[in-house]
Symmetry: C2
Subunit: 317 residues, 2 copies
């Protein structure tokens, strides 16, 4: 039997974490050989509980992730952690730090931790994260934690993959609460004020509360709870998990899980379609050399991008 992508998929479905790790790496490298395996895995995914975890650097996300993993393991659930680094070559250290903090789970076969570092193409990050979630799901993980940093549009796209997203803040963020306003509200279902033993925790919680009051949810919609926690001591973890499951019950009671599933399927399909169409068009242009010919004329302003697109699309056989 061949050791190609098909057998890689079979091994993932049989619960082989090394095969899953290899496939996640292929996906992260945008290796075309991953597609056949992904095709085979897709119908077997869709059962895991997917939880997003985001917040500024230093908010204690990794410590909280570590505690959540321990909590779920205590309930007998298997866990996958996808640490997403949407930024640049410069933050390799942060990822390494996360791994070290997760060390106590390193020998537990019920915990599978991987990092994604996809760079370059816009949308590449949410696409490879979606595929990473599918792989962990097909591997049979009960709970998948997707951890990311920051509040940019990329992270918002990544967090849309989660059923429930936890946003972690720390006391005395000041301007950071302003930054949070600017993108995270639409994806936050649970707020955690971590390091709540620090001064100002109640004030930060009150500021968040006030922020939520300014943009009240529509009637019957989920109102994100604001919870205090001290992740490094394990305080507040049960309450966070409880909030996640209450949010899930809320989605199910309102028939929202199906809507979320459709929205995700739609994004994943259109992302893949967009890439494939562009790849095909570039191939028809004669590859890189054909693109460079057009780029040269554009840089000299001998043509404009709109006319160039028209000529490519119109010239299609």
């Amino acid at each position: 039997m061949s050791r190609g992508p098909e057998s890689l998929a079979d091994r993932v479905l049989a619960g082989d974490v090394r095969a899953a790790a290899r496939l996640i790496r292929l996906v992260d490298d945008a290796d075309p050989s991953a597609a056949a395996a992904m095709r085979r895995l897709y119908p077997h995914a869709g059962r895991a509980i997917v939880i997003g975890l985001t917040g500024s650097p230093g908010a204690g996300k990794s410590t909280l992730a570590d505690q959540l993993v321990a909590y779920f393991r205590g309930q007998g659930k298997t866990v996958g952690v996808l640490a997403v680094d949407p930024t640049s070559p410069f933050s390799g250290g942060a990822i390494l730090g996360d791994r070290i903090r997760m060390n106590r789970h390193a020998t537990d076969p019920g915990v599978f931790i991987r990092s994604l570092a996809t760079r370059g193409a816009l949308g590449g990050l949410s696409r490879s994260t979606a595929q990473g979630v599918t792989i962990m799901d097909a591997l049979g993980r009960d709970v998948i934690l997707v951890e990311t940093v920051g509040v940019g549009q990329d992270e918002v796209e990544v967090m849309r993959l989660a059923d429930t997203t936890i946003v972690v803040v720390v006391p005395g963020m000041g301007d950071d609460v302003q930054a949070i306003k600017a993108g995270i509200l639409e994806i936050a279902q649970v707020f955690v004020v971590n390091k709540a033993d620090r001064e100002g925790a109640n004030r930060t919680a009150a500021e968040l509360e006030q922020m939520l009051t300014l943009t009240p949810p529509p009637p019957g919609a989920w109102k994100p709870p604001i919870l205090l926690a001290e992740a490094h001591r394990g305080k507040g973890i049960a309450e966070i998990v409880d909030a996640v499951f209450r949010h899930r019950a809320h989605l199910e009671a309102r028939g929202r899980m199906g809507v979320l599933r459709r929205e995700r399927a739609r994004r994943e399909f259109l992302d893949l379609l967009r890439d494939r169409l562009l790849d095909d068009a570039i191939a028809r242009l004669g590859g890189e050399a054909g693109v460079e010919r057009i780029v040269g004329r554009l840089a000299e302003r001998e043509t404009d991008p709109y006319s160039a697109v028209e000529s490519v699309v119109g010239g299609r056989s």
Copy 2:
């Protein structure tokens, strides 16, 4: 003569700011009627000096932008300001604030200030910003300031439109310097420690210096200077402008301007091509209804996104 897109372009080329404002709005709304006007403007653009300005909320970017505008006006240059809000409906207030801070230039016809708020599609922000720059350039602005918030991948894409990007930080950022590491280094050509009268300004400058030392530029490459400023008092502005022009001279001496122009033309062309190909493919599927049919099958896991893409691409006439 008709008042359609062609005449809108003619009016922009004649220096009509109201026409430019209208076209920027059309572009921001992704209105297809903008394409004809953009096609006409494109060959007339490419002469302006484009300066990027980014940093965390509260770093004083708008005050600095205001001072830079005053400085360039003092040199007799016309200025365009594009304030880019890459985030969400929730930060409308910030943009309004910026407008108010810019108030002293409101009656100066040599200053043209516009906001972009493009949401939704990934890459939509850098695309509409590129078009906004082209419009201001074709309008005849000598200098274009592109101002944005934060350090996500979206903002990095936006800043790639600038010839020189200024990154503004404030003393005592703490974790924020960590966040900056994670994406901004690759686009920062000038660092400004603003509010330098505050405690810790020298330490923040030293931290930035150390950060740059950790990832030294290749031999002969530009080394970003770290400048202290107090924008609210106009202190340090001349030094910042000087650094911008030194960076520009550096680019020109190394023949890098042409490379930048090609890279930008390439991105703009491929972005437009990608969107156009997807629009055409969706039309061939029968529009929204056709997409929904596929999404329904995906959500039920009756097919997978890879096979669905294959059927769309394979079925092309």
